[in-house]
C-alpha cells in the first residue's frame, strides 16, 4: 500500500499543528463556535447527540496491521474501546473528548493516518472496490489512481469551501463494487482501442434526500488528463453550484438544472483551457504510484489445495463460512476473506479494540500485514492462502468475526441512527438488531440467499438505503419513530434506486414486514432467482399487498424535520 515519503509526513504533521492551534484559539475565545465548525469538520470532528464524534480517514479503505493496532490503542485510550466502520470506508469514534482530539490526530499521524476532509464541504475520502488488486474481474488496480486523487484533493486550495460535500469513487472491475454512480463523480477505469488507460466519467450522482444516479459525462478520458478534467468539473461546481439552499447544493442539482449535455459542454469549455497544463500526469508518476501497490510476494500454489477441499467436505460450518465469506482471487491458491462485523447483538460495522488487535494479527500472519474496510462495513483480508483458510476461520470465530452472513439478509448496512446521531429521525441500530434476531437461523438465511437490506435513520441516507433490495428509512411522525420501506434498489452495474412501498410502519412491525416481503419472494422464486430477480419479474404489487395485509395505513409520515447541523455534516 502507499507509504508516505518525508513530504507527505511533513504535510500531515503540519496539519496536526494547525488543528491544535485552531482548537487552542477556540478555547482561548479567539475563534468562535461558528468559525471553528467548518475547520473542525474538515478534520472529521462533529458535535453529536452525546458530544464529539471523530471520523478518521481510511483512504480507499486500505489499512496496514500497524495502523489498525494504533486504532485499537486510540479507541482504548481516548474512547470506549470500540470503533465504527462507515459506508465510506472510514472509522468513527463516538466518544472522544473534544480537548483530546489534537492528541488523537497526532497519534494517527505517527502511523501515516489523519482525519483530513472526512467531513465538510470539500472533496471527501476517495472510495473504491474492497477487492482492489486481487479481484479476478478487475483489469487494472484502481488504488494508484485513488492515491493520486487523495493527494490532489488534500488541501486543494480552490476547492476547500465548495457549496457542499463532494464524493468520488473509483471502480476498475467488471462488476462495480464501489457504487460509483451514487457519487458526485464516479470513475470507471477502462481501456480504449489503442490500449490506452482512461476513465468513463459519471457525474451528479448522490443519495441523501434526492437520490440520483450519476450520468455519463465522458466516454473516455485518458488518464493523464484526470486531474485537469476534475479541476474543470469542480471549478464549475464551485462557481455555479447553489449556495442558497443546502438541500439543493450538491452537484447533482446543478447537473440536473443544466441538463447533462449543457453541463458537459461547459466542462469541455473549461477543460479546454486547463488540459495539457502542469497538472497533466506523466506515465512515470503512474508507475511510481503503481509501485506502492505492487502485488505482495505471493507463492506459486496449485489452484486447489487438497487439504482445504477435504475440510470443506467434512466440516459443514466451515463450508458455510467459505461459501459466504471467502471470495475468488486472481492468483491461484489464494482467496480474499471477509471478516463479518455483523454478528448478532453488535451494531453493524462496530469493532472492539480486542477485535482490532485480532484482525491485525490475522493480517500479519496470513495476509501480508494489510487489510481493507468494505463499504458494506466489514473487514477484508485480501491475500489469504487457501490452505490457511481453516485456521483463519477458527481464529476469526473465536473473536466473533466469522458470522457466515456476507451478502445475506443480516449483512445489513446501517447508520448510527438516533442512538448517536443528532440528525436522526429514528434509531436504526435497534431495528437492525430486531431483524437480525428474527432471521438468526443460518440455514434459513442461506436459503433466502443474496439480498441487501440497508437502514438509514434519516433522509441523509448514510446507510445507503436507496440502493438496497430492501431499504429502511427512519421517519418522524409526531415525535414517534416510524419507518418507511423501499424495495428494488440495488448496487453494482445495474444500480437502481428503490421504490417506496407506501406509508410508514411502526418500529415493532418492521421484522414482520421484512418477513412478509421475504415470504412473497420464497413463494414466487424460481430456483435460480435472487430476491431482486423475483421482484423485477413479478413487480412491486404482491410485496406491497403482503406488507400491508391486515394493517390500516392512512396517514403518511412527515419525512424530515431536523436541519440543525446538516449544513455542516
Amino acid at each position: 500500500m502507499y507509504r508516505y515519503d518525508n513530504t507527505d509526513q511533513q504535510i500531515i504533521n503540519e496539519r496536526v499543528a494547525q488543528y491544535r492551534d485552531q482548537i487552542g484559539r477556540h478555547l482561548a475565545g479567539e475563534l468562535s463556535v461558528d468559525e471553528l465548525r467548518p475547520l473542525r469538520l474538515q478534520n472529521g470532528l462533529y458535535i453529536q447527540r452525546h458530544g464529539p464524534m471523530l471520523r478518521i480517514a481510511i483512504p480507499y479503505g486500505m489499512l496496514s496491521a500497524a495502523q489498525l493496532r494504533k486504532l485499537a490503542e486510540i479507541s482504548r485510550r481516548y474512547d470506549r474501546a470500540v470503533g465504527h466502520f462507515t459506508t465510506r470506508q472510514n472509522m468513527q469514534l463516538n466518544w472522544p473528548q473534544f480537548e483530546e482530539t489534537p492528541d488523537i490526530l497526532a497519534e494517527l499521524a505517527s502511523v501515516q493516518m489523519h482525519a483530513v476532509q472526512t467531513s465538510g464541504n470539500c472533496v471527501r475520502n476517495i472510495t473504491t472496490d474492497h477487492f482492489a488488486g486481487v479481484a479476478p474481474d478487475e483489469w487494472t488496480d484502481p488504488r494508484p489512481y485513488c492515491e493520486l486523487l487523495r493527494q490532489w484533493s488534500t488541501f486543494h486550495p480552490e476547492f476547500a469551501f465548495l457549496p457542499r460535500k463532494f464524493k468520488i469513487a473509483v471502480n476498475a472491475a467488471a462488476e462495480d463494487r464501489a457504487v460509483i454512480r451514487a457519487h458526485d463523480i464516479g470513475l470507471d477505469l477502462v481501456g480504449n482501442e489503442q490500449g490506452e488507460i482512461g476513465f468513463r466519467v459519471f457525474v451528479g450522482g448522490g443519495l441523501g434526500r434526492t437520490p440520483i444516479l450519476g450520468k455519463l459525462i465522458r466516454e473516455f478520458l485518458p488518464r493523464r488528463h484526470l486531474l485537469s478534467y476534475l479541476d474543470a468539473i469542480l471549478r464549475l461546481y464551485n462557481r455555479y453550484g447553489r449556495r442558497d439552499n443546502m438541500y439543493k447544493a450538491r452537484i447533482k442539482i446543478l447537473v440536473q438544472a443544466l441538463g447533462i449535455d449543457e453541463f458537459g459542454r461547459q466542462v469541455e469549455a473549461e477543460w479546454s483551457q486547463l488540459r495539457d497544463g502542469p497538472t497533466t500526469v506523466p506515465d512515470v508518476e503512474f508507475a511510481r504510484l503503481g509501485g506502492h501497490f505492487a502485488p505482495p510476494p505471493r507463492a506459486t500454489l496449485p489452484a486447489e489445495d487438497a487439504a482445504h477441499a477435504a475440510r470443506l467436505r467434512n466440516d459443514p460450518a466451515f463450508a458455510n463460512w467459505v461459501k459466504r465469506c471467502v471470495h475468488p482471487h486472481k492468483t491461484p491458491g489464494y482467496a480474499a476473506v471477509t471478516l463479518s462485523l455483523k454478528a448478532l447483538g453488535v451494531a453493524p460495522g462496530d469493532i472492539s479494540d480486542v477485535q482490532m488487535i485480532a484482525v491485525a494479527e490475522l493480517a500479519e500472519r496470513f495476509s501480508f500485514g494489510e487489510l481493507r474496510v468494505s463499504h458494506e462495513q466489514n473487514v477484508v483480508l485480501a491475500d489469504v492462502r487457501q490452505s490457511d483458510l481453516h485456521e483463519v476461520w477458527l481464529i476469526a470465530r473465536r473473536h466473533r468475526l466469522a458470522t457466515a452472513n456476507i451478502g445475506l439478509l443480516t449483512d445489513m448496512i446501517c447508520c448510527p441512527g438516533g442512538d448517536l446521531c443528532a440528525l436522526a429521525n429514528a434509531r436504526s441500530v435497534p431495528i437492525a438488531a430486531a431483524i437480525h434476531e428474527k432471521f438468526d437461523d443460518l440455514d434459513y438465511l442461506h436459503d433466502i440467499g443474496d439480498i441487501s437490506l440497508n437502514i438509514s435513520g434519516c433522509m441523509n441516507s448514510c446507510g445507503h438505503h436507496h440502493v438496497a433490495n430492501i431499504g429502511i428509512l427512519g421517519v418522524d411522525k409526531n415525535d414517534e419513530e416510524w419507518y418507511q420501506i423501499s424495495i428494488g434498489g440495488q448496487q453494482g452495474n445495474a444500480a437502481t434506486i428503490g421504490k417506496v412501498i407506501g406509508p410508514s410502519f411502526y418500529a415493532q412491525e418492521i421484522p414482520q414486514v421484512i418477513e412478509a416481503l421475504i415470504g412473497v419472494y420464497l413463494e414466487h422464486r424460481t430456483p435460480s432467482e435472487r430476491f431482486i430477480d423475483t421482484l423485477q419479474r413479478i413487480g412491486i404489487e404482491p410485496f406491497k399487498a403482503r406488507a400491508y395485509a391486515g394493517r390500516d395505513r392512512r396517514r403518511t409520515a412527515k419525512v424530515d424535520n431536523r436541519e440543525e447541523e446538516v449544513i455542516n455534516a
Partner: protein, 173 residues
C-alpha cells in the same frame, strides 16, 4: 489608518470600499475621492467617467460575479478585490485563480469581507496577495495563517508544478 496584510506584512492602507446603499444605483451613486474600490456594476456603468476622475483604479467583485466581466479592463486596474461574503463561500478562490491564470492580471488581488486567518493559506495559493482581515480580528496574529504548510500537492498560482513533478526531479537529481 486601517491596516491590511500585503506581501506577508501588515501595512497601512487607505483604499475605501464603496458599496451601494439601499436606493442607490450604479448610475447615480456619488463617487468618493480616490483611492476607492468600486462595485463591478458601478465600474461597468461609468468606465470613462471614472477613468478620467481617478489616478488609480480598483474594482471589487462579489462572489457571484466573474472575472469575465473585467476581461477588457485587466491592464487598467491596479487592484481587483474579491469579496468573501462569508468565509465558507469559496467562489472567491476560483475567481482569484482565473484572474491570475486566465486573465494574467498582474496587479494586487485583495480579499475583502469575511477574511480570516484560517483561510489565508488557500487564498494566497490562489493568487490573492493582499488581505483586508475582518476588523475584529488580530491582524498581527493572523499572519501565521500564511505559512501553515511548507509543501503542497497541487499546482496553483504560487507553485507552477504539482508535487508529483517536483518529486520526480528530486528523485532523478
Amino acid at each position: 489608518m486601517p491596516r491590511i496584510i500585503k506581501h506577508d506584512r501588515v501595512v497601512e492602507d487607505d483604499w475605501q470600499v464603496l458599496t451601494l446603499a439601499a436606493g442607490e444605483t450604479p448610475a447615480t451613486v456619488t463617487l468618493p475621492a480616490d483611492p476607492v474600490l468600486l462595485p463591478l456594476p458601478v465600474w461597468l456603468a461609468r468606465r470613462t467617467e471614472i477613468s478620467s476622475l481617478y489616478r488609480t483604479l480598483g474594482v471589487w467583485l462579489d462572489s457571484h460575479e466573474g472575472p469575465e466581466a473585467l476581461a477588457d479592463d485587466i491592464d487598467r486596474l491596479s487592484i481587483i478585490a474579491v469579496n468573501f461574503p462569508k468565509f465558507t463561500d469559496g467562489r472567491g478562490y476560483s475567481i482569484a485563480r482565473l484572474l491570475r491564470e486566465r486573465y494574467h492580471f498582474q496587479g494586487e488581488i485583495r480579499a475583502i469581507g469575511d477574511v480570516l486567518q484560517d483561510q489565508l493559506f488557500f487564498m494566497r495559493r490562489c493568487g490573492i496577495d493582499a488581505y483586508a482581515l475582518r476588523a475584529d480580528k488580530d491582524i498581527e496574529k493572523a499572519l501565521a495563517g500564511l505559512s501553515v504548510f511548507s509543501e503542497t500537492y497541487q499546482a496553483a498560482v504560487d507553485q507552477s508544478e504539482p508535487l508529483f513533478l517536483r518529486r520526480r526531479t528530486e528523485a532523478s537529481a
